[in-house]
Subunit: 410 residues, 2 copies
């Protein structure tokens, strides 16, 4: 069976119904992990899954698995899913689209009375956003062995409530083991959260992988001094050095276009007073590239550039890499299934690399994995104004449906 299509209206209705839970005045959603809003959304989702004939199980991390049996139910399931939780000022599509797209696949297969060979599973992963509890992607992380169960349950919010206690409170402390098990494949549908598809008028991004991300903490020290009484030639101005370091980061990012990215988003100036030459500036650099070797090269070049600037200006420099998320290259067969489905459906598409982390990053360690992106307005996400069109959402779901069916029947 090829080029089957989901019911786009039903998908849209489900998204809009779900967006009422935790709805904000500005049209977004605030559904922090394991709050009453998260519970209400989980309850509604479970109700819908059961109404669609799925068997629903919850694991020790509160991850929800809804299963539609296959002809051969002993085969590893073909899976999809994403997350139900949101940022504090989140949108109506980030995460929840990937969950409800899975449900729409099941509903469509039901409409068609179509039985896949392997079973179909939808997973809703706990605390993907990491906004209430750090770290992010902890539900899929424990499932895939990145964190121990104890680590996962111990995560605390600012009031000291743990994930474990909050799962119990909302009734999602399941008894299914949270541990790797054989999955036939995992597909995650998601909004792009970037501007590329919209700008190029592509409906589908065939995600090849996730870029590597490195974070650096950089502290530059000069000497605090009076802006009026200290001549230019006697200054050790940390701000002047950091300004050059921002420029070098940008230059290195531009030299690595189109795939490389460099950003200085966080800065603290000390003492931060109009008439005091800054004696210290602390900033963080975010450097990304899908190729680990090229990322190494960017890091080395940036470190050398910062050292040269500090040396030229007589400034102290502390340059520390504080985080590395390695690049992920998705499974060629799964990526191919997404590509084939998009092509067969006649949808404008392009290969794309995910700039953000997703549950699929962890799942890719234990199962063949791929992702499907659809455009979002102006590339805006993690924002109440996040928007996607019903047509694009339906198209992404169509690709998911056909890729999963193809894989389930292999």
């Amino acid at each position: 069976m090829r080029n089957i299509k989901v019911n786009g209206d039903r998908l849209w209705q489900s998204l809009m119904e779900m967006a009422k839970i935790g709805a904000t005045e500005k049209g977004g959603v605030c559904r922090l992990a394991l709050t009453d809003e998260d519970k209400a959304a989980r309850d509604l989702y479970v109700e819908w899954c059961e109404a669609a004939g799925c068997t629903v199980r919850v694991d020790e991390m509160g991850n929800i698995f809804a299963r539609r049996p296959g002809k051969d139910d002993s085969l590893p399931p073909i899976c999809t899913g994403s997350h139900i939780d949101s940022q504090p000022t989140g949108g109506k599509y980030d995460g929840i689209f990937g969950v409800l797209a899975g449900l729409e696949v099941v509903r469509t297969l039901n409409d068609l009375n179509y039985e896949t060979n392997a079973p179909i599973e939808i997973s809703a992963w706990t605390n993907e956003e990491g906004s209430r509890f750090a770290p992010a992607m902890v539900g899929s992380g424990v499932f895939c062995g990145e964190f121990s169960l104890a680590e996962g349950l111990a995560g605390e919010d600012r009031e000291g409530n743990t994930i474990g206690a909050e799962l119990k409170r909302i009734g999602y402390d399941g008894d299914m083991k949270c541990a790797p098990r054989p999955l036939g494949a995992f597909f995650e549908a998601h909004i792009e959260q970037g501007p590329i598809l919209e700008a190029e008028q592509k409906t589908i991004g065939v995600v090849q992988g996730v870029q590597g991300i490195r974070w650096y903490e950089i502290e530059v020290t000069g000497m605090d001094a009076h802006a009026g009484t200290t001549p230019m030639e006697r200054r050790k101005d940390a701000m002047v050095g950091v300004a050059r370091m921002v420029g070098e980061a940008h230059r290195i990012g531009e030299a690595a276009m189109p795939d490389g990215r460099t950003t200085i988003g966080y800065m603290e100036v000390s003492p931060n007073s109009t008439n005091v030459i800054p004696g210290k500036v602390f900033f963080r650099a975010d450097i990304r590239h899908p190729d680990a070797g090229l990322l190494d090269g960017m890091e080395n070049e940036y470190r050398a550039a910062c050292e040269k600037i500090a040396g030229d200006l007589g400034l102290g420099l502390e340059f520390k890499r504080i985080w590395y998320s390695e690049p992920v290259i998705f499974d060629a067969a799964c990526v191919g299934a997404v590509q084939d489905a998009a092509d067969a459906l006649g949808l404008a598409n392009r290969p794309i690399t995910s700039g953000a982390g997703h549950d699929a990053v962890y799942v890719s360690r234990i199962a063949p994995t791929a992702m499907i992106f659809i455009p979002c307005a102006d590339g805006i996400s993690h924002n109440e104004t996040e928007e996607a069109t019903p047509a694009d959402l339906a198209a992404g779901c169509d690709v998911l449906l056909n890729a999963m069916v193809a894989r389930a029947n292999e």
Copy 2:
């Protein structure tokens, strides 16, 4: 009478005795305006002045005038002075040196039984620092007509206490009118608060004037976006623009060496998150030059540079001048009296421009004025580690004595 000298030991003892009032653990002074510490210091100073035979009067702003009569007491007095209040973590010399140097001049003239032709006056101006009550230099400002008396008395600290109420509380709400009256001259002795004299091994800075100061508030707007999902070529990164603007400010300051100065000391990055391209950066620029015309040129060049950068990068720019303190050129005859005294005493000296504001700025509007600088260690001031040597303090006081005597006998 030429090349007379003060008693440097007595000056040092007085400074050290005074530094006990409000002494901090790190060797500095916390003597905020009109606190109990300021009152205790004022009381001790008044006691010393009266013991030295001066007539002490207090005006409506709490400014204290101590007068030693002249042969012709109808002549306008030859004046000196500075302030008794300090920064919260201030040093032992900023301000109080100029007051106690005046007292040492009187004591030395007493030792010599020397009667000047015109009377001698020492003024201790209220709230020079502006740390407890804004604005700074308010006592001399009201005296010289910059502020009305009502404005001066209305100044509030963070608890809502006014200068007027606090003057009454500590018993320094004098009945002498706070208004301009004829002064024969005004000399203010002060530590440099900068590194030049120490670096060039000069004992005396013959202050030519005070540089003009302009402050700007500059807001650069781009577009907040995800550091991972937004390609370099689709960014509107306010940080990248501001980094270039910092570089241009520095370049313009260096081009205006040795007198020009440019500083970016204050910056706010928004949203200031490691993985968000900054959509807004707000900063303040401080641009100084002793020559008003050249300061105009620096401003015009900087504004044009910021506009070009914003234009090149597609960023929004708001560029506002928020403050201008005009350059002051001190009275040639008074500066000459300082120069002559330093030369005649054989003290290594150089012309210098004050980078900071002082009471002498306001006084220069109503009387012929000059200042005398002495070195301070590493140029550090407004800091508990502020240091000056007994020899330099005595030398500065010697110059003050000889300049005042010369002027008083003209």
